[in-house]
């Protein structure tokens, strides 16, 4: 699911203050404006979409709104590189119901190709076969953009490129304010020091933060003072199923792909006026079919079925297996003083290095936002003709045992001043200018939609600055 963020995501703090006043911000918030704007990122969003061949339909082409696309999105210079994917039956039911209620459904932008496509690097890939084994799996025909089929084939031909698999980087070595290399251990347990002029740390949010903490680069966050520092601003996209629906007819949900469906952004960002709502910001609702798995998807039953085991339960589970569908919600998670990452005092990895620890819970803004979306989803479910609908029980406490996306963000916030961020707008470390930290760890808070295109856009922007400016004259880019 390859969404761009809405333009209002970036000046979040300034805009919220101006529109609703300081008093509407939670007292313990650590919300910040981003160091970049939508306009800064637009050319790089465009490039990322072309590299992956994102399928979708534009809703705003250079200011012209287009029905059928996301009319709330920021202006795009180009249409999506490939047309929208084929839509599963359940998604078309959602589209029709949402339209009848006055919403603006649009096809989920997908990194799975709808048609064969050749990207600007001359990498050709096949189109999706809707096999139903997508989002948790490697794509067997290469329709889904992943580094192994877009990036590595290009790098493989480079004489100055070497991939060292099965290696664990355990420290970044810094001397006199410069990174001089990395220490790593290979699969045999041998330790190496790899010298480097330039270090790009791009090891996912959590390991970015952990490696910097282990390497003692930058000041660790202290929740007692609440100043932005390494490990602060931990956010985890609010994600759950606002409603589960049970239908009388089969839905053929064994077919699909990771992003085959529709979204509505009518409640995303600040699209809705929040003056009289008990929460700030919002999120997106969607219905899609990524493929029902024989074990993972089995046994979801409507409340009218009473037995929880035995023949009657088995019969009902078989009957409802393909008559069940869920809504999916992705919402903004604001940054708070109490939510952060640090090194665990107890648990260590196999090398004896401390693991990363989360301190995280939902707050009233997230709970009230979830409560707002549940009845909206239930209404749409009834308009879709669902026989029975089970609403979401409420967000309550943060619980790691419930899977809720891999979209964990923050820890190395990118900002405009070294006093109030860890990285500058190019994801360059304020204290160590030859260290760049790429990924969603640079996000000051979590927007509603999924983060990957923004992670890529920021990385392409950094790459441009590296080639155009840094390599010619190494130093601070801002």
């Amino acid at each position: 699911m390859s969404y761009r963020f809405l333009p209002d995501v970036f000046p979040l703090l300034t805009q919220t203050r101006e529109k609703y006043g300081e008093s509407r911000l939670p007292k313990n918030h650590m919300i910040r404006d981003w160091a970049v704007s939508y306009d800064d990122l637009e050319p790089y969003y465009d490039h990322a979409e072309k590299m992956m061949g994102i399928s979708g339909k534009a809703g705003n082409l250079r200011g012209r709104l287009i029905e059928g696309g996301n009319i709330f999105e920021g202006p795009r210079q180009n249409e999506y590189p490939t047309q929208p994917a084929k839509q599963p039956y359940i998604a078309t039911k959602f589209r029709d119901a949402a339209t009848s209620l006055g919403y603006h459904p649009y096809p989920i932008p997908a990194a799975t190709l709808s048609v064969p496509y050749t990207n600007p690097d001359c990498i050709s890939r096949n189109s999706c076969a809707y096999c139903g084994f997508c989002e948790r799996f490697g794509c067997m025909i290469g329709a889904k953009a992943q580094p192994s089929n877009t990036l590595l084939p290009v790098l493989r031909g480079k004489k100055n490129f070497e991939l060292r698999p099965s290696c664990w980087v355990r420290r970044i070595v810094v001397k006199d304010g410069r990174a001089t290399g990395v220490e790593y251990t290979n699969e045999k347990g041998e330790e190496f020091l790899q010298p480097a002029d330039l270090v790009l740390l791009s090891t996912f949010t959590m390991n970015n933060v952990r490696l910097l903490l282990l390497s003692k680069i930058g000041e660790p966050y202290d929740p007692r003072n609440g100043r932005i520092a390494l490990g602060s601003n931990l956010t985890h996209q609010v994600s759950h199923a606002p409603a589960t629906m049970f239908f009388e007819e089969p839905l053929n949900r064994f077919m699909g792909s990771g992003a085959a469906g529709f979204t509505i952004s009518d409640f995303d960002g600040d699209v809705l006026d929040h003056s009289n709502l008990p929460f700030l910001r919002g999120g997106i609702l969607r219905v899609f079919s990524s493929g029902m798995r024989p074990i993972a998807s089995f046994g979801v039953l409507p409340p009218s079925v009473k037995p929880t085991w035995g023949s009657e339960w088995k019969k009902a589970s078989t009957y409802y297996f393909d008559r069940t569908a869920t809504f999916s919600f992705s919402g903004e998670h604001l940054a708070y003083r109490e939510n952060f990452m640090d090194l665990d005092p107890t648990y260590k990895d196999k090398f004896g290095d401390p693991l990363l620890r989360f301190t995280l819970d939902w707050q009233e803004n997230e709970r009230k936002m979830a409560d707002f979306f549940t009845p909206k989803a239930v209404d749409i479910a009834h308009a879709m003709g669902a026989k029975e609908v089970v609403p979401f029980a409420g967000l309550r406490r943060y619980d790691t045992r419930r899977y809720q996306t891999t979209h964990i963000q923050g820890g190395t916030v990118a900002g405009r001043t070294p006093e109030d961020s860890v990285l500058n707008s190019y994801s360059q470390h304020w204290q160590v200018p030859n260290l760049f930290v790429l990924g969603a760890s640079a996000f000051p808070q979590s927007p509603g939609p999924n983060p990957t295109p923004t992670v890529l856009a920021m990385a392409y922007r950094t790459a441009d600055a590296l080639i155009e400016r840094y390599l010619k004259q190494p130093g601070t880019l801002v």
């Binding site: 085991w309 035995g310 023949s311 088995k314 019969k315 078989t318 107890t346 648990y347 693991l355």
Partner: protein, 123 residues
Amino acid sequence: MRRRQFLTLSAKAVGGVLVYSLTREPLLIPSRAQSIKVPLRFFQEAEALDVAAAAARIMPTDETGPGASEAGVIIYIDRQLASAYGRDRYRYTQAPLPHTQRPRAPGSPAFQLFSRYRCGRQW
């Protein structure tokens, strides 16, 4: 070191299916064999028969098709309980667990089973 336990299954119940042996080699059970012996890694044979019977009540063999017995569920449960997953080794539930979390039982369902069978208590 306790004596190795085997679960004796009638070949009819697993006829024509693949069973993964201790060495993870797939083993085709010939349907003409009278019975087969599957080595157990966690359960005693009597325990395995109990749990297998319970699984067969949850997912019975009936007119809608095969159930837990034919699927060899007991072998799966046995292997899971014998593995790191069964001991919750990857969940960082090192003692002491906060007393207040008692009612919210930490750990996986497999860990619950493990502690009930081997420690005589439930977390």
